[in-house]
């Protein structure tokens, strides 16, 4: 980094053109010095947020425009348009996906994750263009899919393209995709916190402090852009939500159980049908989105047009008690069917909005039934609808943190945090116990990829230093003592290597042979400190991952494990054998538990 120079030299004459050029050059060279890679990456994150926000604004306008142009402004039932439009649009989308934009099928979350872990952050810019056009047509024509996941992929694609243009380092380029993904999702959802959490939970798949700042900056920047164009109106008009008595948590727990079961049904239906349809001959893929459109359109034609498209208006109406519980329950079931059909057909589009829709309808239905049998329950239909949204998010997408914050961010009401947490916990646990692999992981595995996940990380038992730690040895030598005294102490010991406590701090080792040799050489009157190497042993702490011990075990026979509060206090030792033995026993357990299939 070059030394910073003053931005403007006060003594320099700035009136002549030559002087002005000189000042500009100096300013540029100063800026060059300031923008080292970390700072530059943060600034770049803001630009990614801006560009993603602009793209998502256009994407939303496209969907709205397509909807108006294809289905008309007024909702209709029993109109031929309802099944003709999504069918024909399905044909167009299929042709584009098959011929022009391969690789834009599905939601886009997995592709973004694959870019991060497999393709070094590379997402073709054509993906953004294709996703924009095809998802816009599909959702606008009424396919039961949402705009959030495509927005996420569009954001990631823009970020990746920008990173490649700027030829930033491979390490940073890999991180561009999640930064763009957060921006795209935040813009689509108008909820930056949920977007950040989702990207961490689902796209990055692990907590990483290094990227958090960039993800947050891009998410906030994109939300600011979207709000400046489309206003800060929330997705839903939130009704009054109340939670008064702790006993009502039982009602929310029941909702959580119902949501968990619905999540499993939804995930299993997608998991079952997707590979079946993918296995069909390639030419059928030209027609699968059209058939899906026809089926979804038929549901609309038969009196339930609410299931078509993202369905935010219907969620809003459910939140304000516009549907009876039977209608709500039916809409939840039909939406599962419609979304399964749309998604497994390979139509580009997301699952966020359908998940929220199913959760909202299920929440409203369960809430209404509960309130019918227990009229003293104080939660309004709107409260159950909101909690229901979180429940499906937790159960189906398996992002428990995001699910809680999403409800809070959308509702702006912290009073329902406890019901949300209780219901989501039940839903998440039921989903985990009945569907071992989360939906996004299932989809990536069906595509032949295995990517890390936060759930996997949460379940992973990390070996720590304390697991391989041996007790404090009976004989610890002191560097302050004479060699002959130390030699006498170890003469009858079964061990061959001994730990030496250095003064004033630090540790070293000495072998019995070494002490014997020094004694024979007549150096018995010397202190051990004077004859040992001045280089101290590295020390470890009990809570460190055992991997950190691997760096030392080949170089040192013993490694002291000390207390974090007092480095002179020895907690134990690790040796090469103890570390390897621990890894060996772990591997043996893992091999024993391997699924024979």
């Amino acid at each position: 980094m070059s030394n910073p120079a003053p931005l403007v030299d006060p003594s320099a004459p700035s009136s002549t053109p030559a002087a002005r050029v000189k000042t500009s050059r100096r300013l540029f060279s100063t800026l060059e010095g300031v923008f080292h890679e970390e700072v530059f990456f943060l600034i770049l994150s803001v630009f990614i947020g801006i560009f993603s926000g602009l793209a998502v604004v256009c994407f939303r306008l496209t969907i709205d425009w397509m909807h108006l142009a294809l289905l008309g402004p007024l909702p209709q039932t029993h109109s031929w348009r309802l099944f003709a439009v999504p069918s024909l649009a399905g044909l167009v989308v299929a042709a584009l996906v098959m011929r022009v934009f391969p690789g834009i099928r599905g939601s886009g979350v997995n592709q973004t994750k694959s870019a991060l872990y497999i393709f070094n952050g590379f997402i073709p810019f054509r993906t953004a263009v294709g996703k924009f056009i095809c998802a816009g047509i599909a959702i606008g024509s009424g396919q039961s899919l949402g705009p959030e996941d495509p927005s996420l992929q569009i954001g990631a694609s823009i970020a990746s393209a920008l990173g490649r243009q700027l030829e930033i380092s491979r390490e940073k380029l890999r991180l561009m995709a999640p930064v763009g993904a957060a921006a795209g999702l935040a813009a689509a959802f108008n909820a930056p916190i949920s977007a950040v959490l989702f990207v961490i939970e689902e796209v990055i798949g692990r907590w990483s402090a290094g990227i958090l700042g960039s993800v947050v900056l891009s998410a906030v920047a994109s939300v600011v852009v979207v709000r400046s164009f489309l206003g800060s109106e929330p997705l839903f008009r939130i009704p009054v939500t109340t939670f008064k008595r702790p006993t009502e948590l039982i009602a929310y727990a029941v909702l959580g159980i119902a949501g968990g079961l619905a999540s499993v049904a939804f995930a299993k239906s997608i998991g079952y049908f997707r590979p079946l349809l993918k296995a069909l001959p390639r030419w059928t893929q030209y027609f699968q989105p059209a058939i899906a459109g026809l089926l979804v359109g038929l549901i609309g034609f038969l009196g339930f047009p609410q299931v078509m498209g993202a369905g935010y208006d219907s969620m809003d109406q459910a939140m304000h008690g516009q549907y009876a519980w039977k209608v709500l329950a039916l809409l939840a079931v039909l939406k599962i069917l419609a979304t399964t059909v749309s998604f497994v057909s390979g139509t580009p589009g997301g699952m966020f909005a359908p998940t929220l829709f199913i959760g909202a309808m299920l929440g409203g239905a369960v809430g209404d039934i509960e309130r019918f049998y227990f009229p003293h329950l104080t939660g309004s239909t709107g409260t159950y609808v909101l909690v229901g949204m979180g429940v499906l998010f937790a159960g189906f997408l398996r992002v428990p943190m995001t699910s809680v914050f999403m409800v809070l961010e959308v509702s702006g009401n912290y009073e329902i945090i406890v019901p949300v947490i209780v219901a989501n916990t039940f839903s998440y646990l039921i989903s985990r116990s009945l569907q071992s692999i989360p939906i996004f992981d299932l989809l990536t595995r069906q595509d032949g990829l295995i990517l890390p996940s936060l759930e996997e990380e949460r379940e992973e038992t990390i070996l720590r230093v304390e697991d391989a730690m041996l007790p404090v040895p009976a004989t610890i030598l002191s560097a302050q003592d004479y060699v002959d005294a130390n030699f006498r102490r170890v003469q009858n010991s079964a061990d061959s290597t001994f730990l030496v406590r250095m003064h004033p701090s630090g540790w070293n080792t000495a072998t019995r042979d070494q002490l014997q040799r020094l004694f024979r050489e007549g150096k018995g009157e010397l202190t051990l400190a004077s004859v040992l190497s001045s280089q101290s042993l590295p020390s470890l702490y009990p809570d460190l991952p055992l991997d950190s011990a691997l760096r030392y075990v080949n170089d040192y026979p013993l490694i002291p494990v000390v207390n974090r509060a007092d480095s002179r206090h020895l907690e134990g030792i690790v040796s090469r054998d103890s570390v390897f033995e621990k890894y060996g026993s772990r591997r043996a357990i893992e091999v024993t538990h391997l699924d024979p299939l």
Binding site: L27, F28, L31, E32, F35, F40, I43, L44, F47, I50, F51, L54, V57, C58, L61, D64, W65, L68, P73, L74, P75, F125, R126, A161, R164, Q165, L166, E167, F229, L230, G231, E233, R237, P239, D313, Q317, H320, G321, Q322, Y323, A324, S380, T381, G382
Partner: protein
């Protein structure tokens, strides 16, 4: 297809930022243009849908109106007028489930413009639909003292009248009465307004208040037959039979087809002719009226007993507390009292017996009250006697 994006951005960090800033600015400008064109199109579409919704609402096709207003709102989500109209249509559709949504739209509007009288009025109507007196009163008051786009006084009075009608419907007469007093104080010099207020006073059973409003209307429009009839009726109900006779006679003269006023006038005439306690009659006339009332009471008692199948000979003279006795079982006792009082008629001429008219008429009044309770509202002279009885009782209280 392998297509590589050309390298467009230079390598120097400041230049990169400059290019990115320019690109962002260009993007902003382009998207702004796009959004403003799209918004203009959407607003135009919204206006069409809104007009469609208004037509449907006017024709009471609320489902169509709601769909049109919803569609208009998707075109222009922040338009207050659309939201207000949608809320009104949701409320007026008379589907209880829709009230919640109407209220949520209105509350959102109210939070933006709490002083808006139209929004407060709509919220008041939602609260009135729910039967919530407290909320409705609060919002109606907000509407009255809120900001109206035009006709401040007229709109304010309309809102107050609506509140009064709601309160009367809910049986909150005391609250309605206080609102009526406030309304009466702010009325313009318009006979129709005074007539409407008088009718509300009448519904609130505040007959003096109603009479004052009818008289005010007559002051502004002396020949108004509705006001004359109303004034006569309220004077009649408040026991002011002289005024009632005057107004009702004028009402019948002004509108001979007014059968109700004619009937009330007949009753009023009978009351004035039968009342033995009238101050401007001679002793002889008073005694004549008492005698007539006494014999009328006996006829009424006998007829009523026959109608109800009661044997008047089964007399219980020990029961003096007629008011706490079932009307039908009180009739034999009254017959006995009537028999006991009959000789007293001859003593009426005696100047020493000053309490006698009252005691005789007390028997008459008791007979009329109990027979009315047993056999229903009487007609003619019996009705007149009953009214005199009620007036005496009210004066005594």
């Amino acid at each position: 297809m392998s297509w590589q994006m050309p390298k467009l951005i230079p390598r120097s960090a400041p230049m990169i930022l400059l290019v990115l800033t320019l690109a962002a600015a260009t993007g902003f400008a382009a998207v702004s243009h796009l959004v403003s064109r799209y918004t203009a199109n959407q607003q135009a579409r919204g206006r069409k849908l809104y007009a469609l919704g208004l037509e449907s609402a006017k024709a009471s096709h609320y489902d169509d109106a709601i769909a049109a207003f919803r569609a208009a709102l998707t075109c222009d989500p922040t338009n207050s007028q659309y939201q207000l109209s949608l809320a009104r249509a949701l409320r007026d559709s008379n589907v209880p489930r829709r009230l919640d949504e109407a209220e949520s739209y209105l509350i959102a509007l109210w939070q933006r413009t709490p002083q808006d009288a139209a929004v407060n009025l709509a919220l008041a109507r939602v609260a009135a639909h729910r039967g919530s007196i407290e909320d409705a009163t609060r919002y109606y008051h907000n509407a009255m003292y809120g900001v109206w786009s035009s006709d401040l006084d007229a709109n304010r009075n309309k809102a107050r009248i609506e509140l009064i009608q709601f309160l009367l419907k809910q049986g909150a007469r005391a609250q309605a009465d206080s609102e009526l007093i406030a309304l009466a104080a702010a009325l313009p010099p318009d006979p129709a307004a005074h007539l409407q207020t008088a009718q509300l006073f009448q519904q609130a059973l505040d007959y003096p208040g109603a009479l004052a409003q009818y008289e005010e209307a007559l002051h502004l429009d002396p020949g108004n037959s509705t006001a004359l009839a109303g004034a006569g009726e309220t004077a009649y109900h408040s026991g002011n039979y002289s005024s009632a006779q005057r107004y009702l006679r004028s009402a019948v003269n002004a509108n001979p087809a007014d059968a109700e006023s004619r009937q009330l006038l007949a009753s009023t005439d009978l009351v004035l002719l039968a009342n033995p306690f009238h101050s401007h009659i001679s002793d002889a006339e008073r005694n004549r009226r008492i005698n007539a009332a006494f014999s009328q009471a006996e006829n009424r008692l006998t007829a009523c007993a026959q109608q109800a199948g009661i044997d008047l000979t089964k007399t219980d003279l020990t029961n003096n507390n007629l008011k706490n006795t079932a009307p039908a079982s009180a009739l034999p006792g009254l017959q006995a009292r009537w028999q006991l009082a009959k000789p007293d008629l001859n003593l009426l001429r005696s100047p020493a017996e000053t309490d006698l008219p009252d005691s005789i008429m007390d028997v008459v009044f008791q007979i009329e009250e109990q027979t009315a309770a047993t056999c229903g509202q009487p007609q003619g002279l019996d009705l007149a006697l009953l009214l005199i009885s009620q007036k005496r009782e009210a004066a005594g209280q």
